[in-house]
Symmetry: C2
Subunit: 404 residues, 2 copies
């Protein structure tokens, strides 16, 4: 790694919570770089910006296509990820590293925090006269990036949630009771809303869906559960880990504040604990009947990492945005985030475009209020939006069909 290369180097890194298809984006970019010869060196930063400042790189030019294709199929971040958010001093170290390795392109795969990191790095590079182009490649199971129609990683996580909820619906039919399922999503309810895709028949769960966009009181929640249980003899409930109370506090914070972590972005750590599900299960028993069969599951990290539950559409699009970032770089385009939009045809199809990093960084997107009904359900409009993203669901049948 020296300055003797004529075309310099590209650095690529992965950041934030991994997804099942984040390696598709990595491999899409690397294969395109190998093909178009934009740079002489392709440096994979181990654990994102952390690897950049500590000179921890993997040379990816020489990675055989066969290995890259297997990496693409592997869940989570093959280069390692990080929660670090660079400040001014951190960024100075990034520039020193980039200068040492003659880095001219920086591809950073991540969510809104990572887009913000990319923005800071690109602005500091501009100020210091370092010739660097920075491309943000989108990734988040939360699907909460502004401007982007949807985000690679969401489709596969949504597929996991739909398959889990579909199976749990049949389990709950088999041994009726009340079941609480806690689903990831700190601020945005996209993933929890995707549980609606599990329904095939009017009787199917989830019967109640609570998202962070609509606060719910203890009384409203218990009233909803009681009504469904009395009507159907069972009740399957999807609750976002980020759901809040009418006073604005997050349920999980109010309940388990002492047990919660904060990551370095100041976010409260909601996942990796079963406390919220157990709280709701206990609440239901205490208020609606001690003898009720009430269970809780927290889908947890399986939502983003489960091996063998990938949406093919999601995998294809994750590769597309990685590949497209490199093509934009080769075309001489400036810094930006590679986004998708639907091209408006009668069947589902997307096209890519480049949006300024600042339009994606920091703030997140929420569910369209029109997609939420009665504060405890998700509308058909959301189903139409989300269904093309998760691939084909398993074939099922029930003996209810004999009655028809």
């Amino acid at each position: 790694m020296s300055n003797q290369n004529k075309k310099g180097a590209a650095v690529i890194g992965q950041s934030g919570g991994p997804t099942s298809v984040i390696n598709q984006s990595l491999v899409g970019a690397v294969l395109e770089l190998k093909k178009n010869g934009l740079v002489d060196e392709v440096l994979g930063a181990r654990h994102g910006v952390r690897g950049i400042v500590s000179d921890d790189f993997i040379g990816l030019n020489t990675a055989p296509d066969e290995l890259l294709e297997r990496v693409a199929l592997t869940p989570a971040a093959a280069l390692g990820s990080t929660r670090d958010k660079p400040d001014q001093a951190y960024c100075e170290k990034i520039f020193q590293s980039f200068a040492r390795h003659d880095v001219r392109y920086f591809f950073y795969i991540g969510g809104n925090d990572s887009a913000d990191t990319a923005r800071i790095v690109s602005e500091l590079a501009a100020k210091s006269g370092h010739a660097l182009k920075t491309f943000h490649i989108p990734k988040t199971i939360d699907n909460d990036l502004r401007v982007h129609d949807h985000t690679p990683g969401f489709g596969s996580a949504a597929r996991f949630v739909a398959c889990a909820m579909m199976g749990d619906n049949y389990d709950n039919r088999s041994l009726p009771g009340i079941k609480v399922d806690i689903i990831m999503g700190r601020n945005a309810g996209f993933l929890t809303a995707a549980s609606v895709l599990a329904r095939r028949h009017p009787e199917d769960g989830p019967h109640l869906i609570y998202v962070p966009e609509v606060p719910v009181s203890k009384e409203k929640f218990l009233g909803d559960v009681d009504r469904v249980y009395k009507k159907q003899g069972r009740c399957l409930i999807a609750i976002s880990e980020g759901v809040s109370r009418p006073d604005g506090t997050i349920w999980a914070e109010a309940i388990v504040s002492e047990a919660l972590d904060r990551d370095t972005h100041g976010n409260v750590q909601l996942s990796g604990s079963g406390a919220l599900g157990d709280y709701f299960a206990t609440l239901i028993k205490e208020k609606l009947g001690k003898k009720l069969r009430v269970r809780a599951d927290t889908f947890g990290y399986l939502q983003r990492s489960f091996a063998g539950c990938v949406s093919e559409v999601d995998a294809r699009e994750a590769r597309l945005v990685g590949q497209t970032a490199v093509r934009y770089a080769a075309e001489g385009k400036d810094n930006g985030s590679v986004a998708m939009r639907r091209n408006g045809g009668s069947s589902y199809n997307v096209e890519t475009f480049l949006t300024p990093l600042s339009t994606v960084a920091k703030e997140t997107k929420h569910l369209d209020p029109a997609w939420i009904s009665d504060g405890n359900n998700i509308s058909a409009a959301f189903e139409n939006y989300a269904r093309p993203l998760i691939g084909t669901l398993p074939i099922v049948g029930t003996f209810d069909e004999l009655k028809k």
Copy 2:
């Protein structure tokens, strides 16, 4: 439903915790009954013995094959399940129902509790001179039936555990820390042991595996975790929900006794709560370092019901034992449980045989002590036993392979 049919009726029911392939057994039996004309009526009992005593049946003769084939692909018990364990009075009601419907064959799909139910019913039938033949069709994700080499339902649940653990291993590599995964299995560690199938490379997790067969003390557990974390910078831990302490008490009971249910078989309810995982995560933080990144997931009901994670071998064998139970009935064989054994060839293959209900009922099987190493790991011999049962795992790759 009357006594005018010449060949009488068969009743089929499903019992206990559902699995992903319990409907394959149901459909295997029903299709065979439709084909061989052994009886005039095939009555599906809704919620097992509960449906028998309350005359809640579905006529399955007329179920189209197309629907049956879709039901076979559907997780959980299509007829509904039950935890009821009939006593003398309950069994009297079962006979009254069987007499009313001229039932000559009873096929009961379930685990050891269900085999015991089948045994009690068949013994009472014999005493009262009712001409009834009772066949137990095996099903349990716990894989703990005596005599049986393995049990339908286990392969798919083991596949889920292996896929979850494989993904979680890559997630844990991406953002290193300590991860606790709680896996189902009240008394037997088969399902927790199956987590070992996720490993591809020496560095891969799970790095520690705790099963109910070997008690573990707090000190031993913390010592193990500390050693692995210091060596590898991360630690992925598989713990059975039924793991016990050296004094013989179950960890989950000791920790969350106040929050636990008991089902009607006198079993403590261990699933449907994240308390055990959270306990171990908190313990690790308190004893090994507050700043450690420690997370816990409880795989929960997804292990037995997730839609779209079925082992093809398991599905085929589940259908086989259902089909075979009916064939044995048609051949005039007596009451029994339909079991599988390996036929000893160089490649994996099974044959079925009939074993008396009493050899399967009540008591369960445990992991072979030779399959457990150092109280915290699983041997290659278990891998050889279990790998043929879970089907082919997803293709993966890591950049570690570049170093070779």
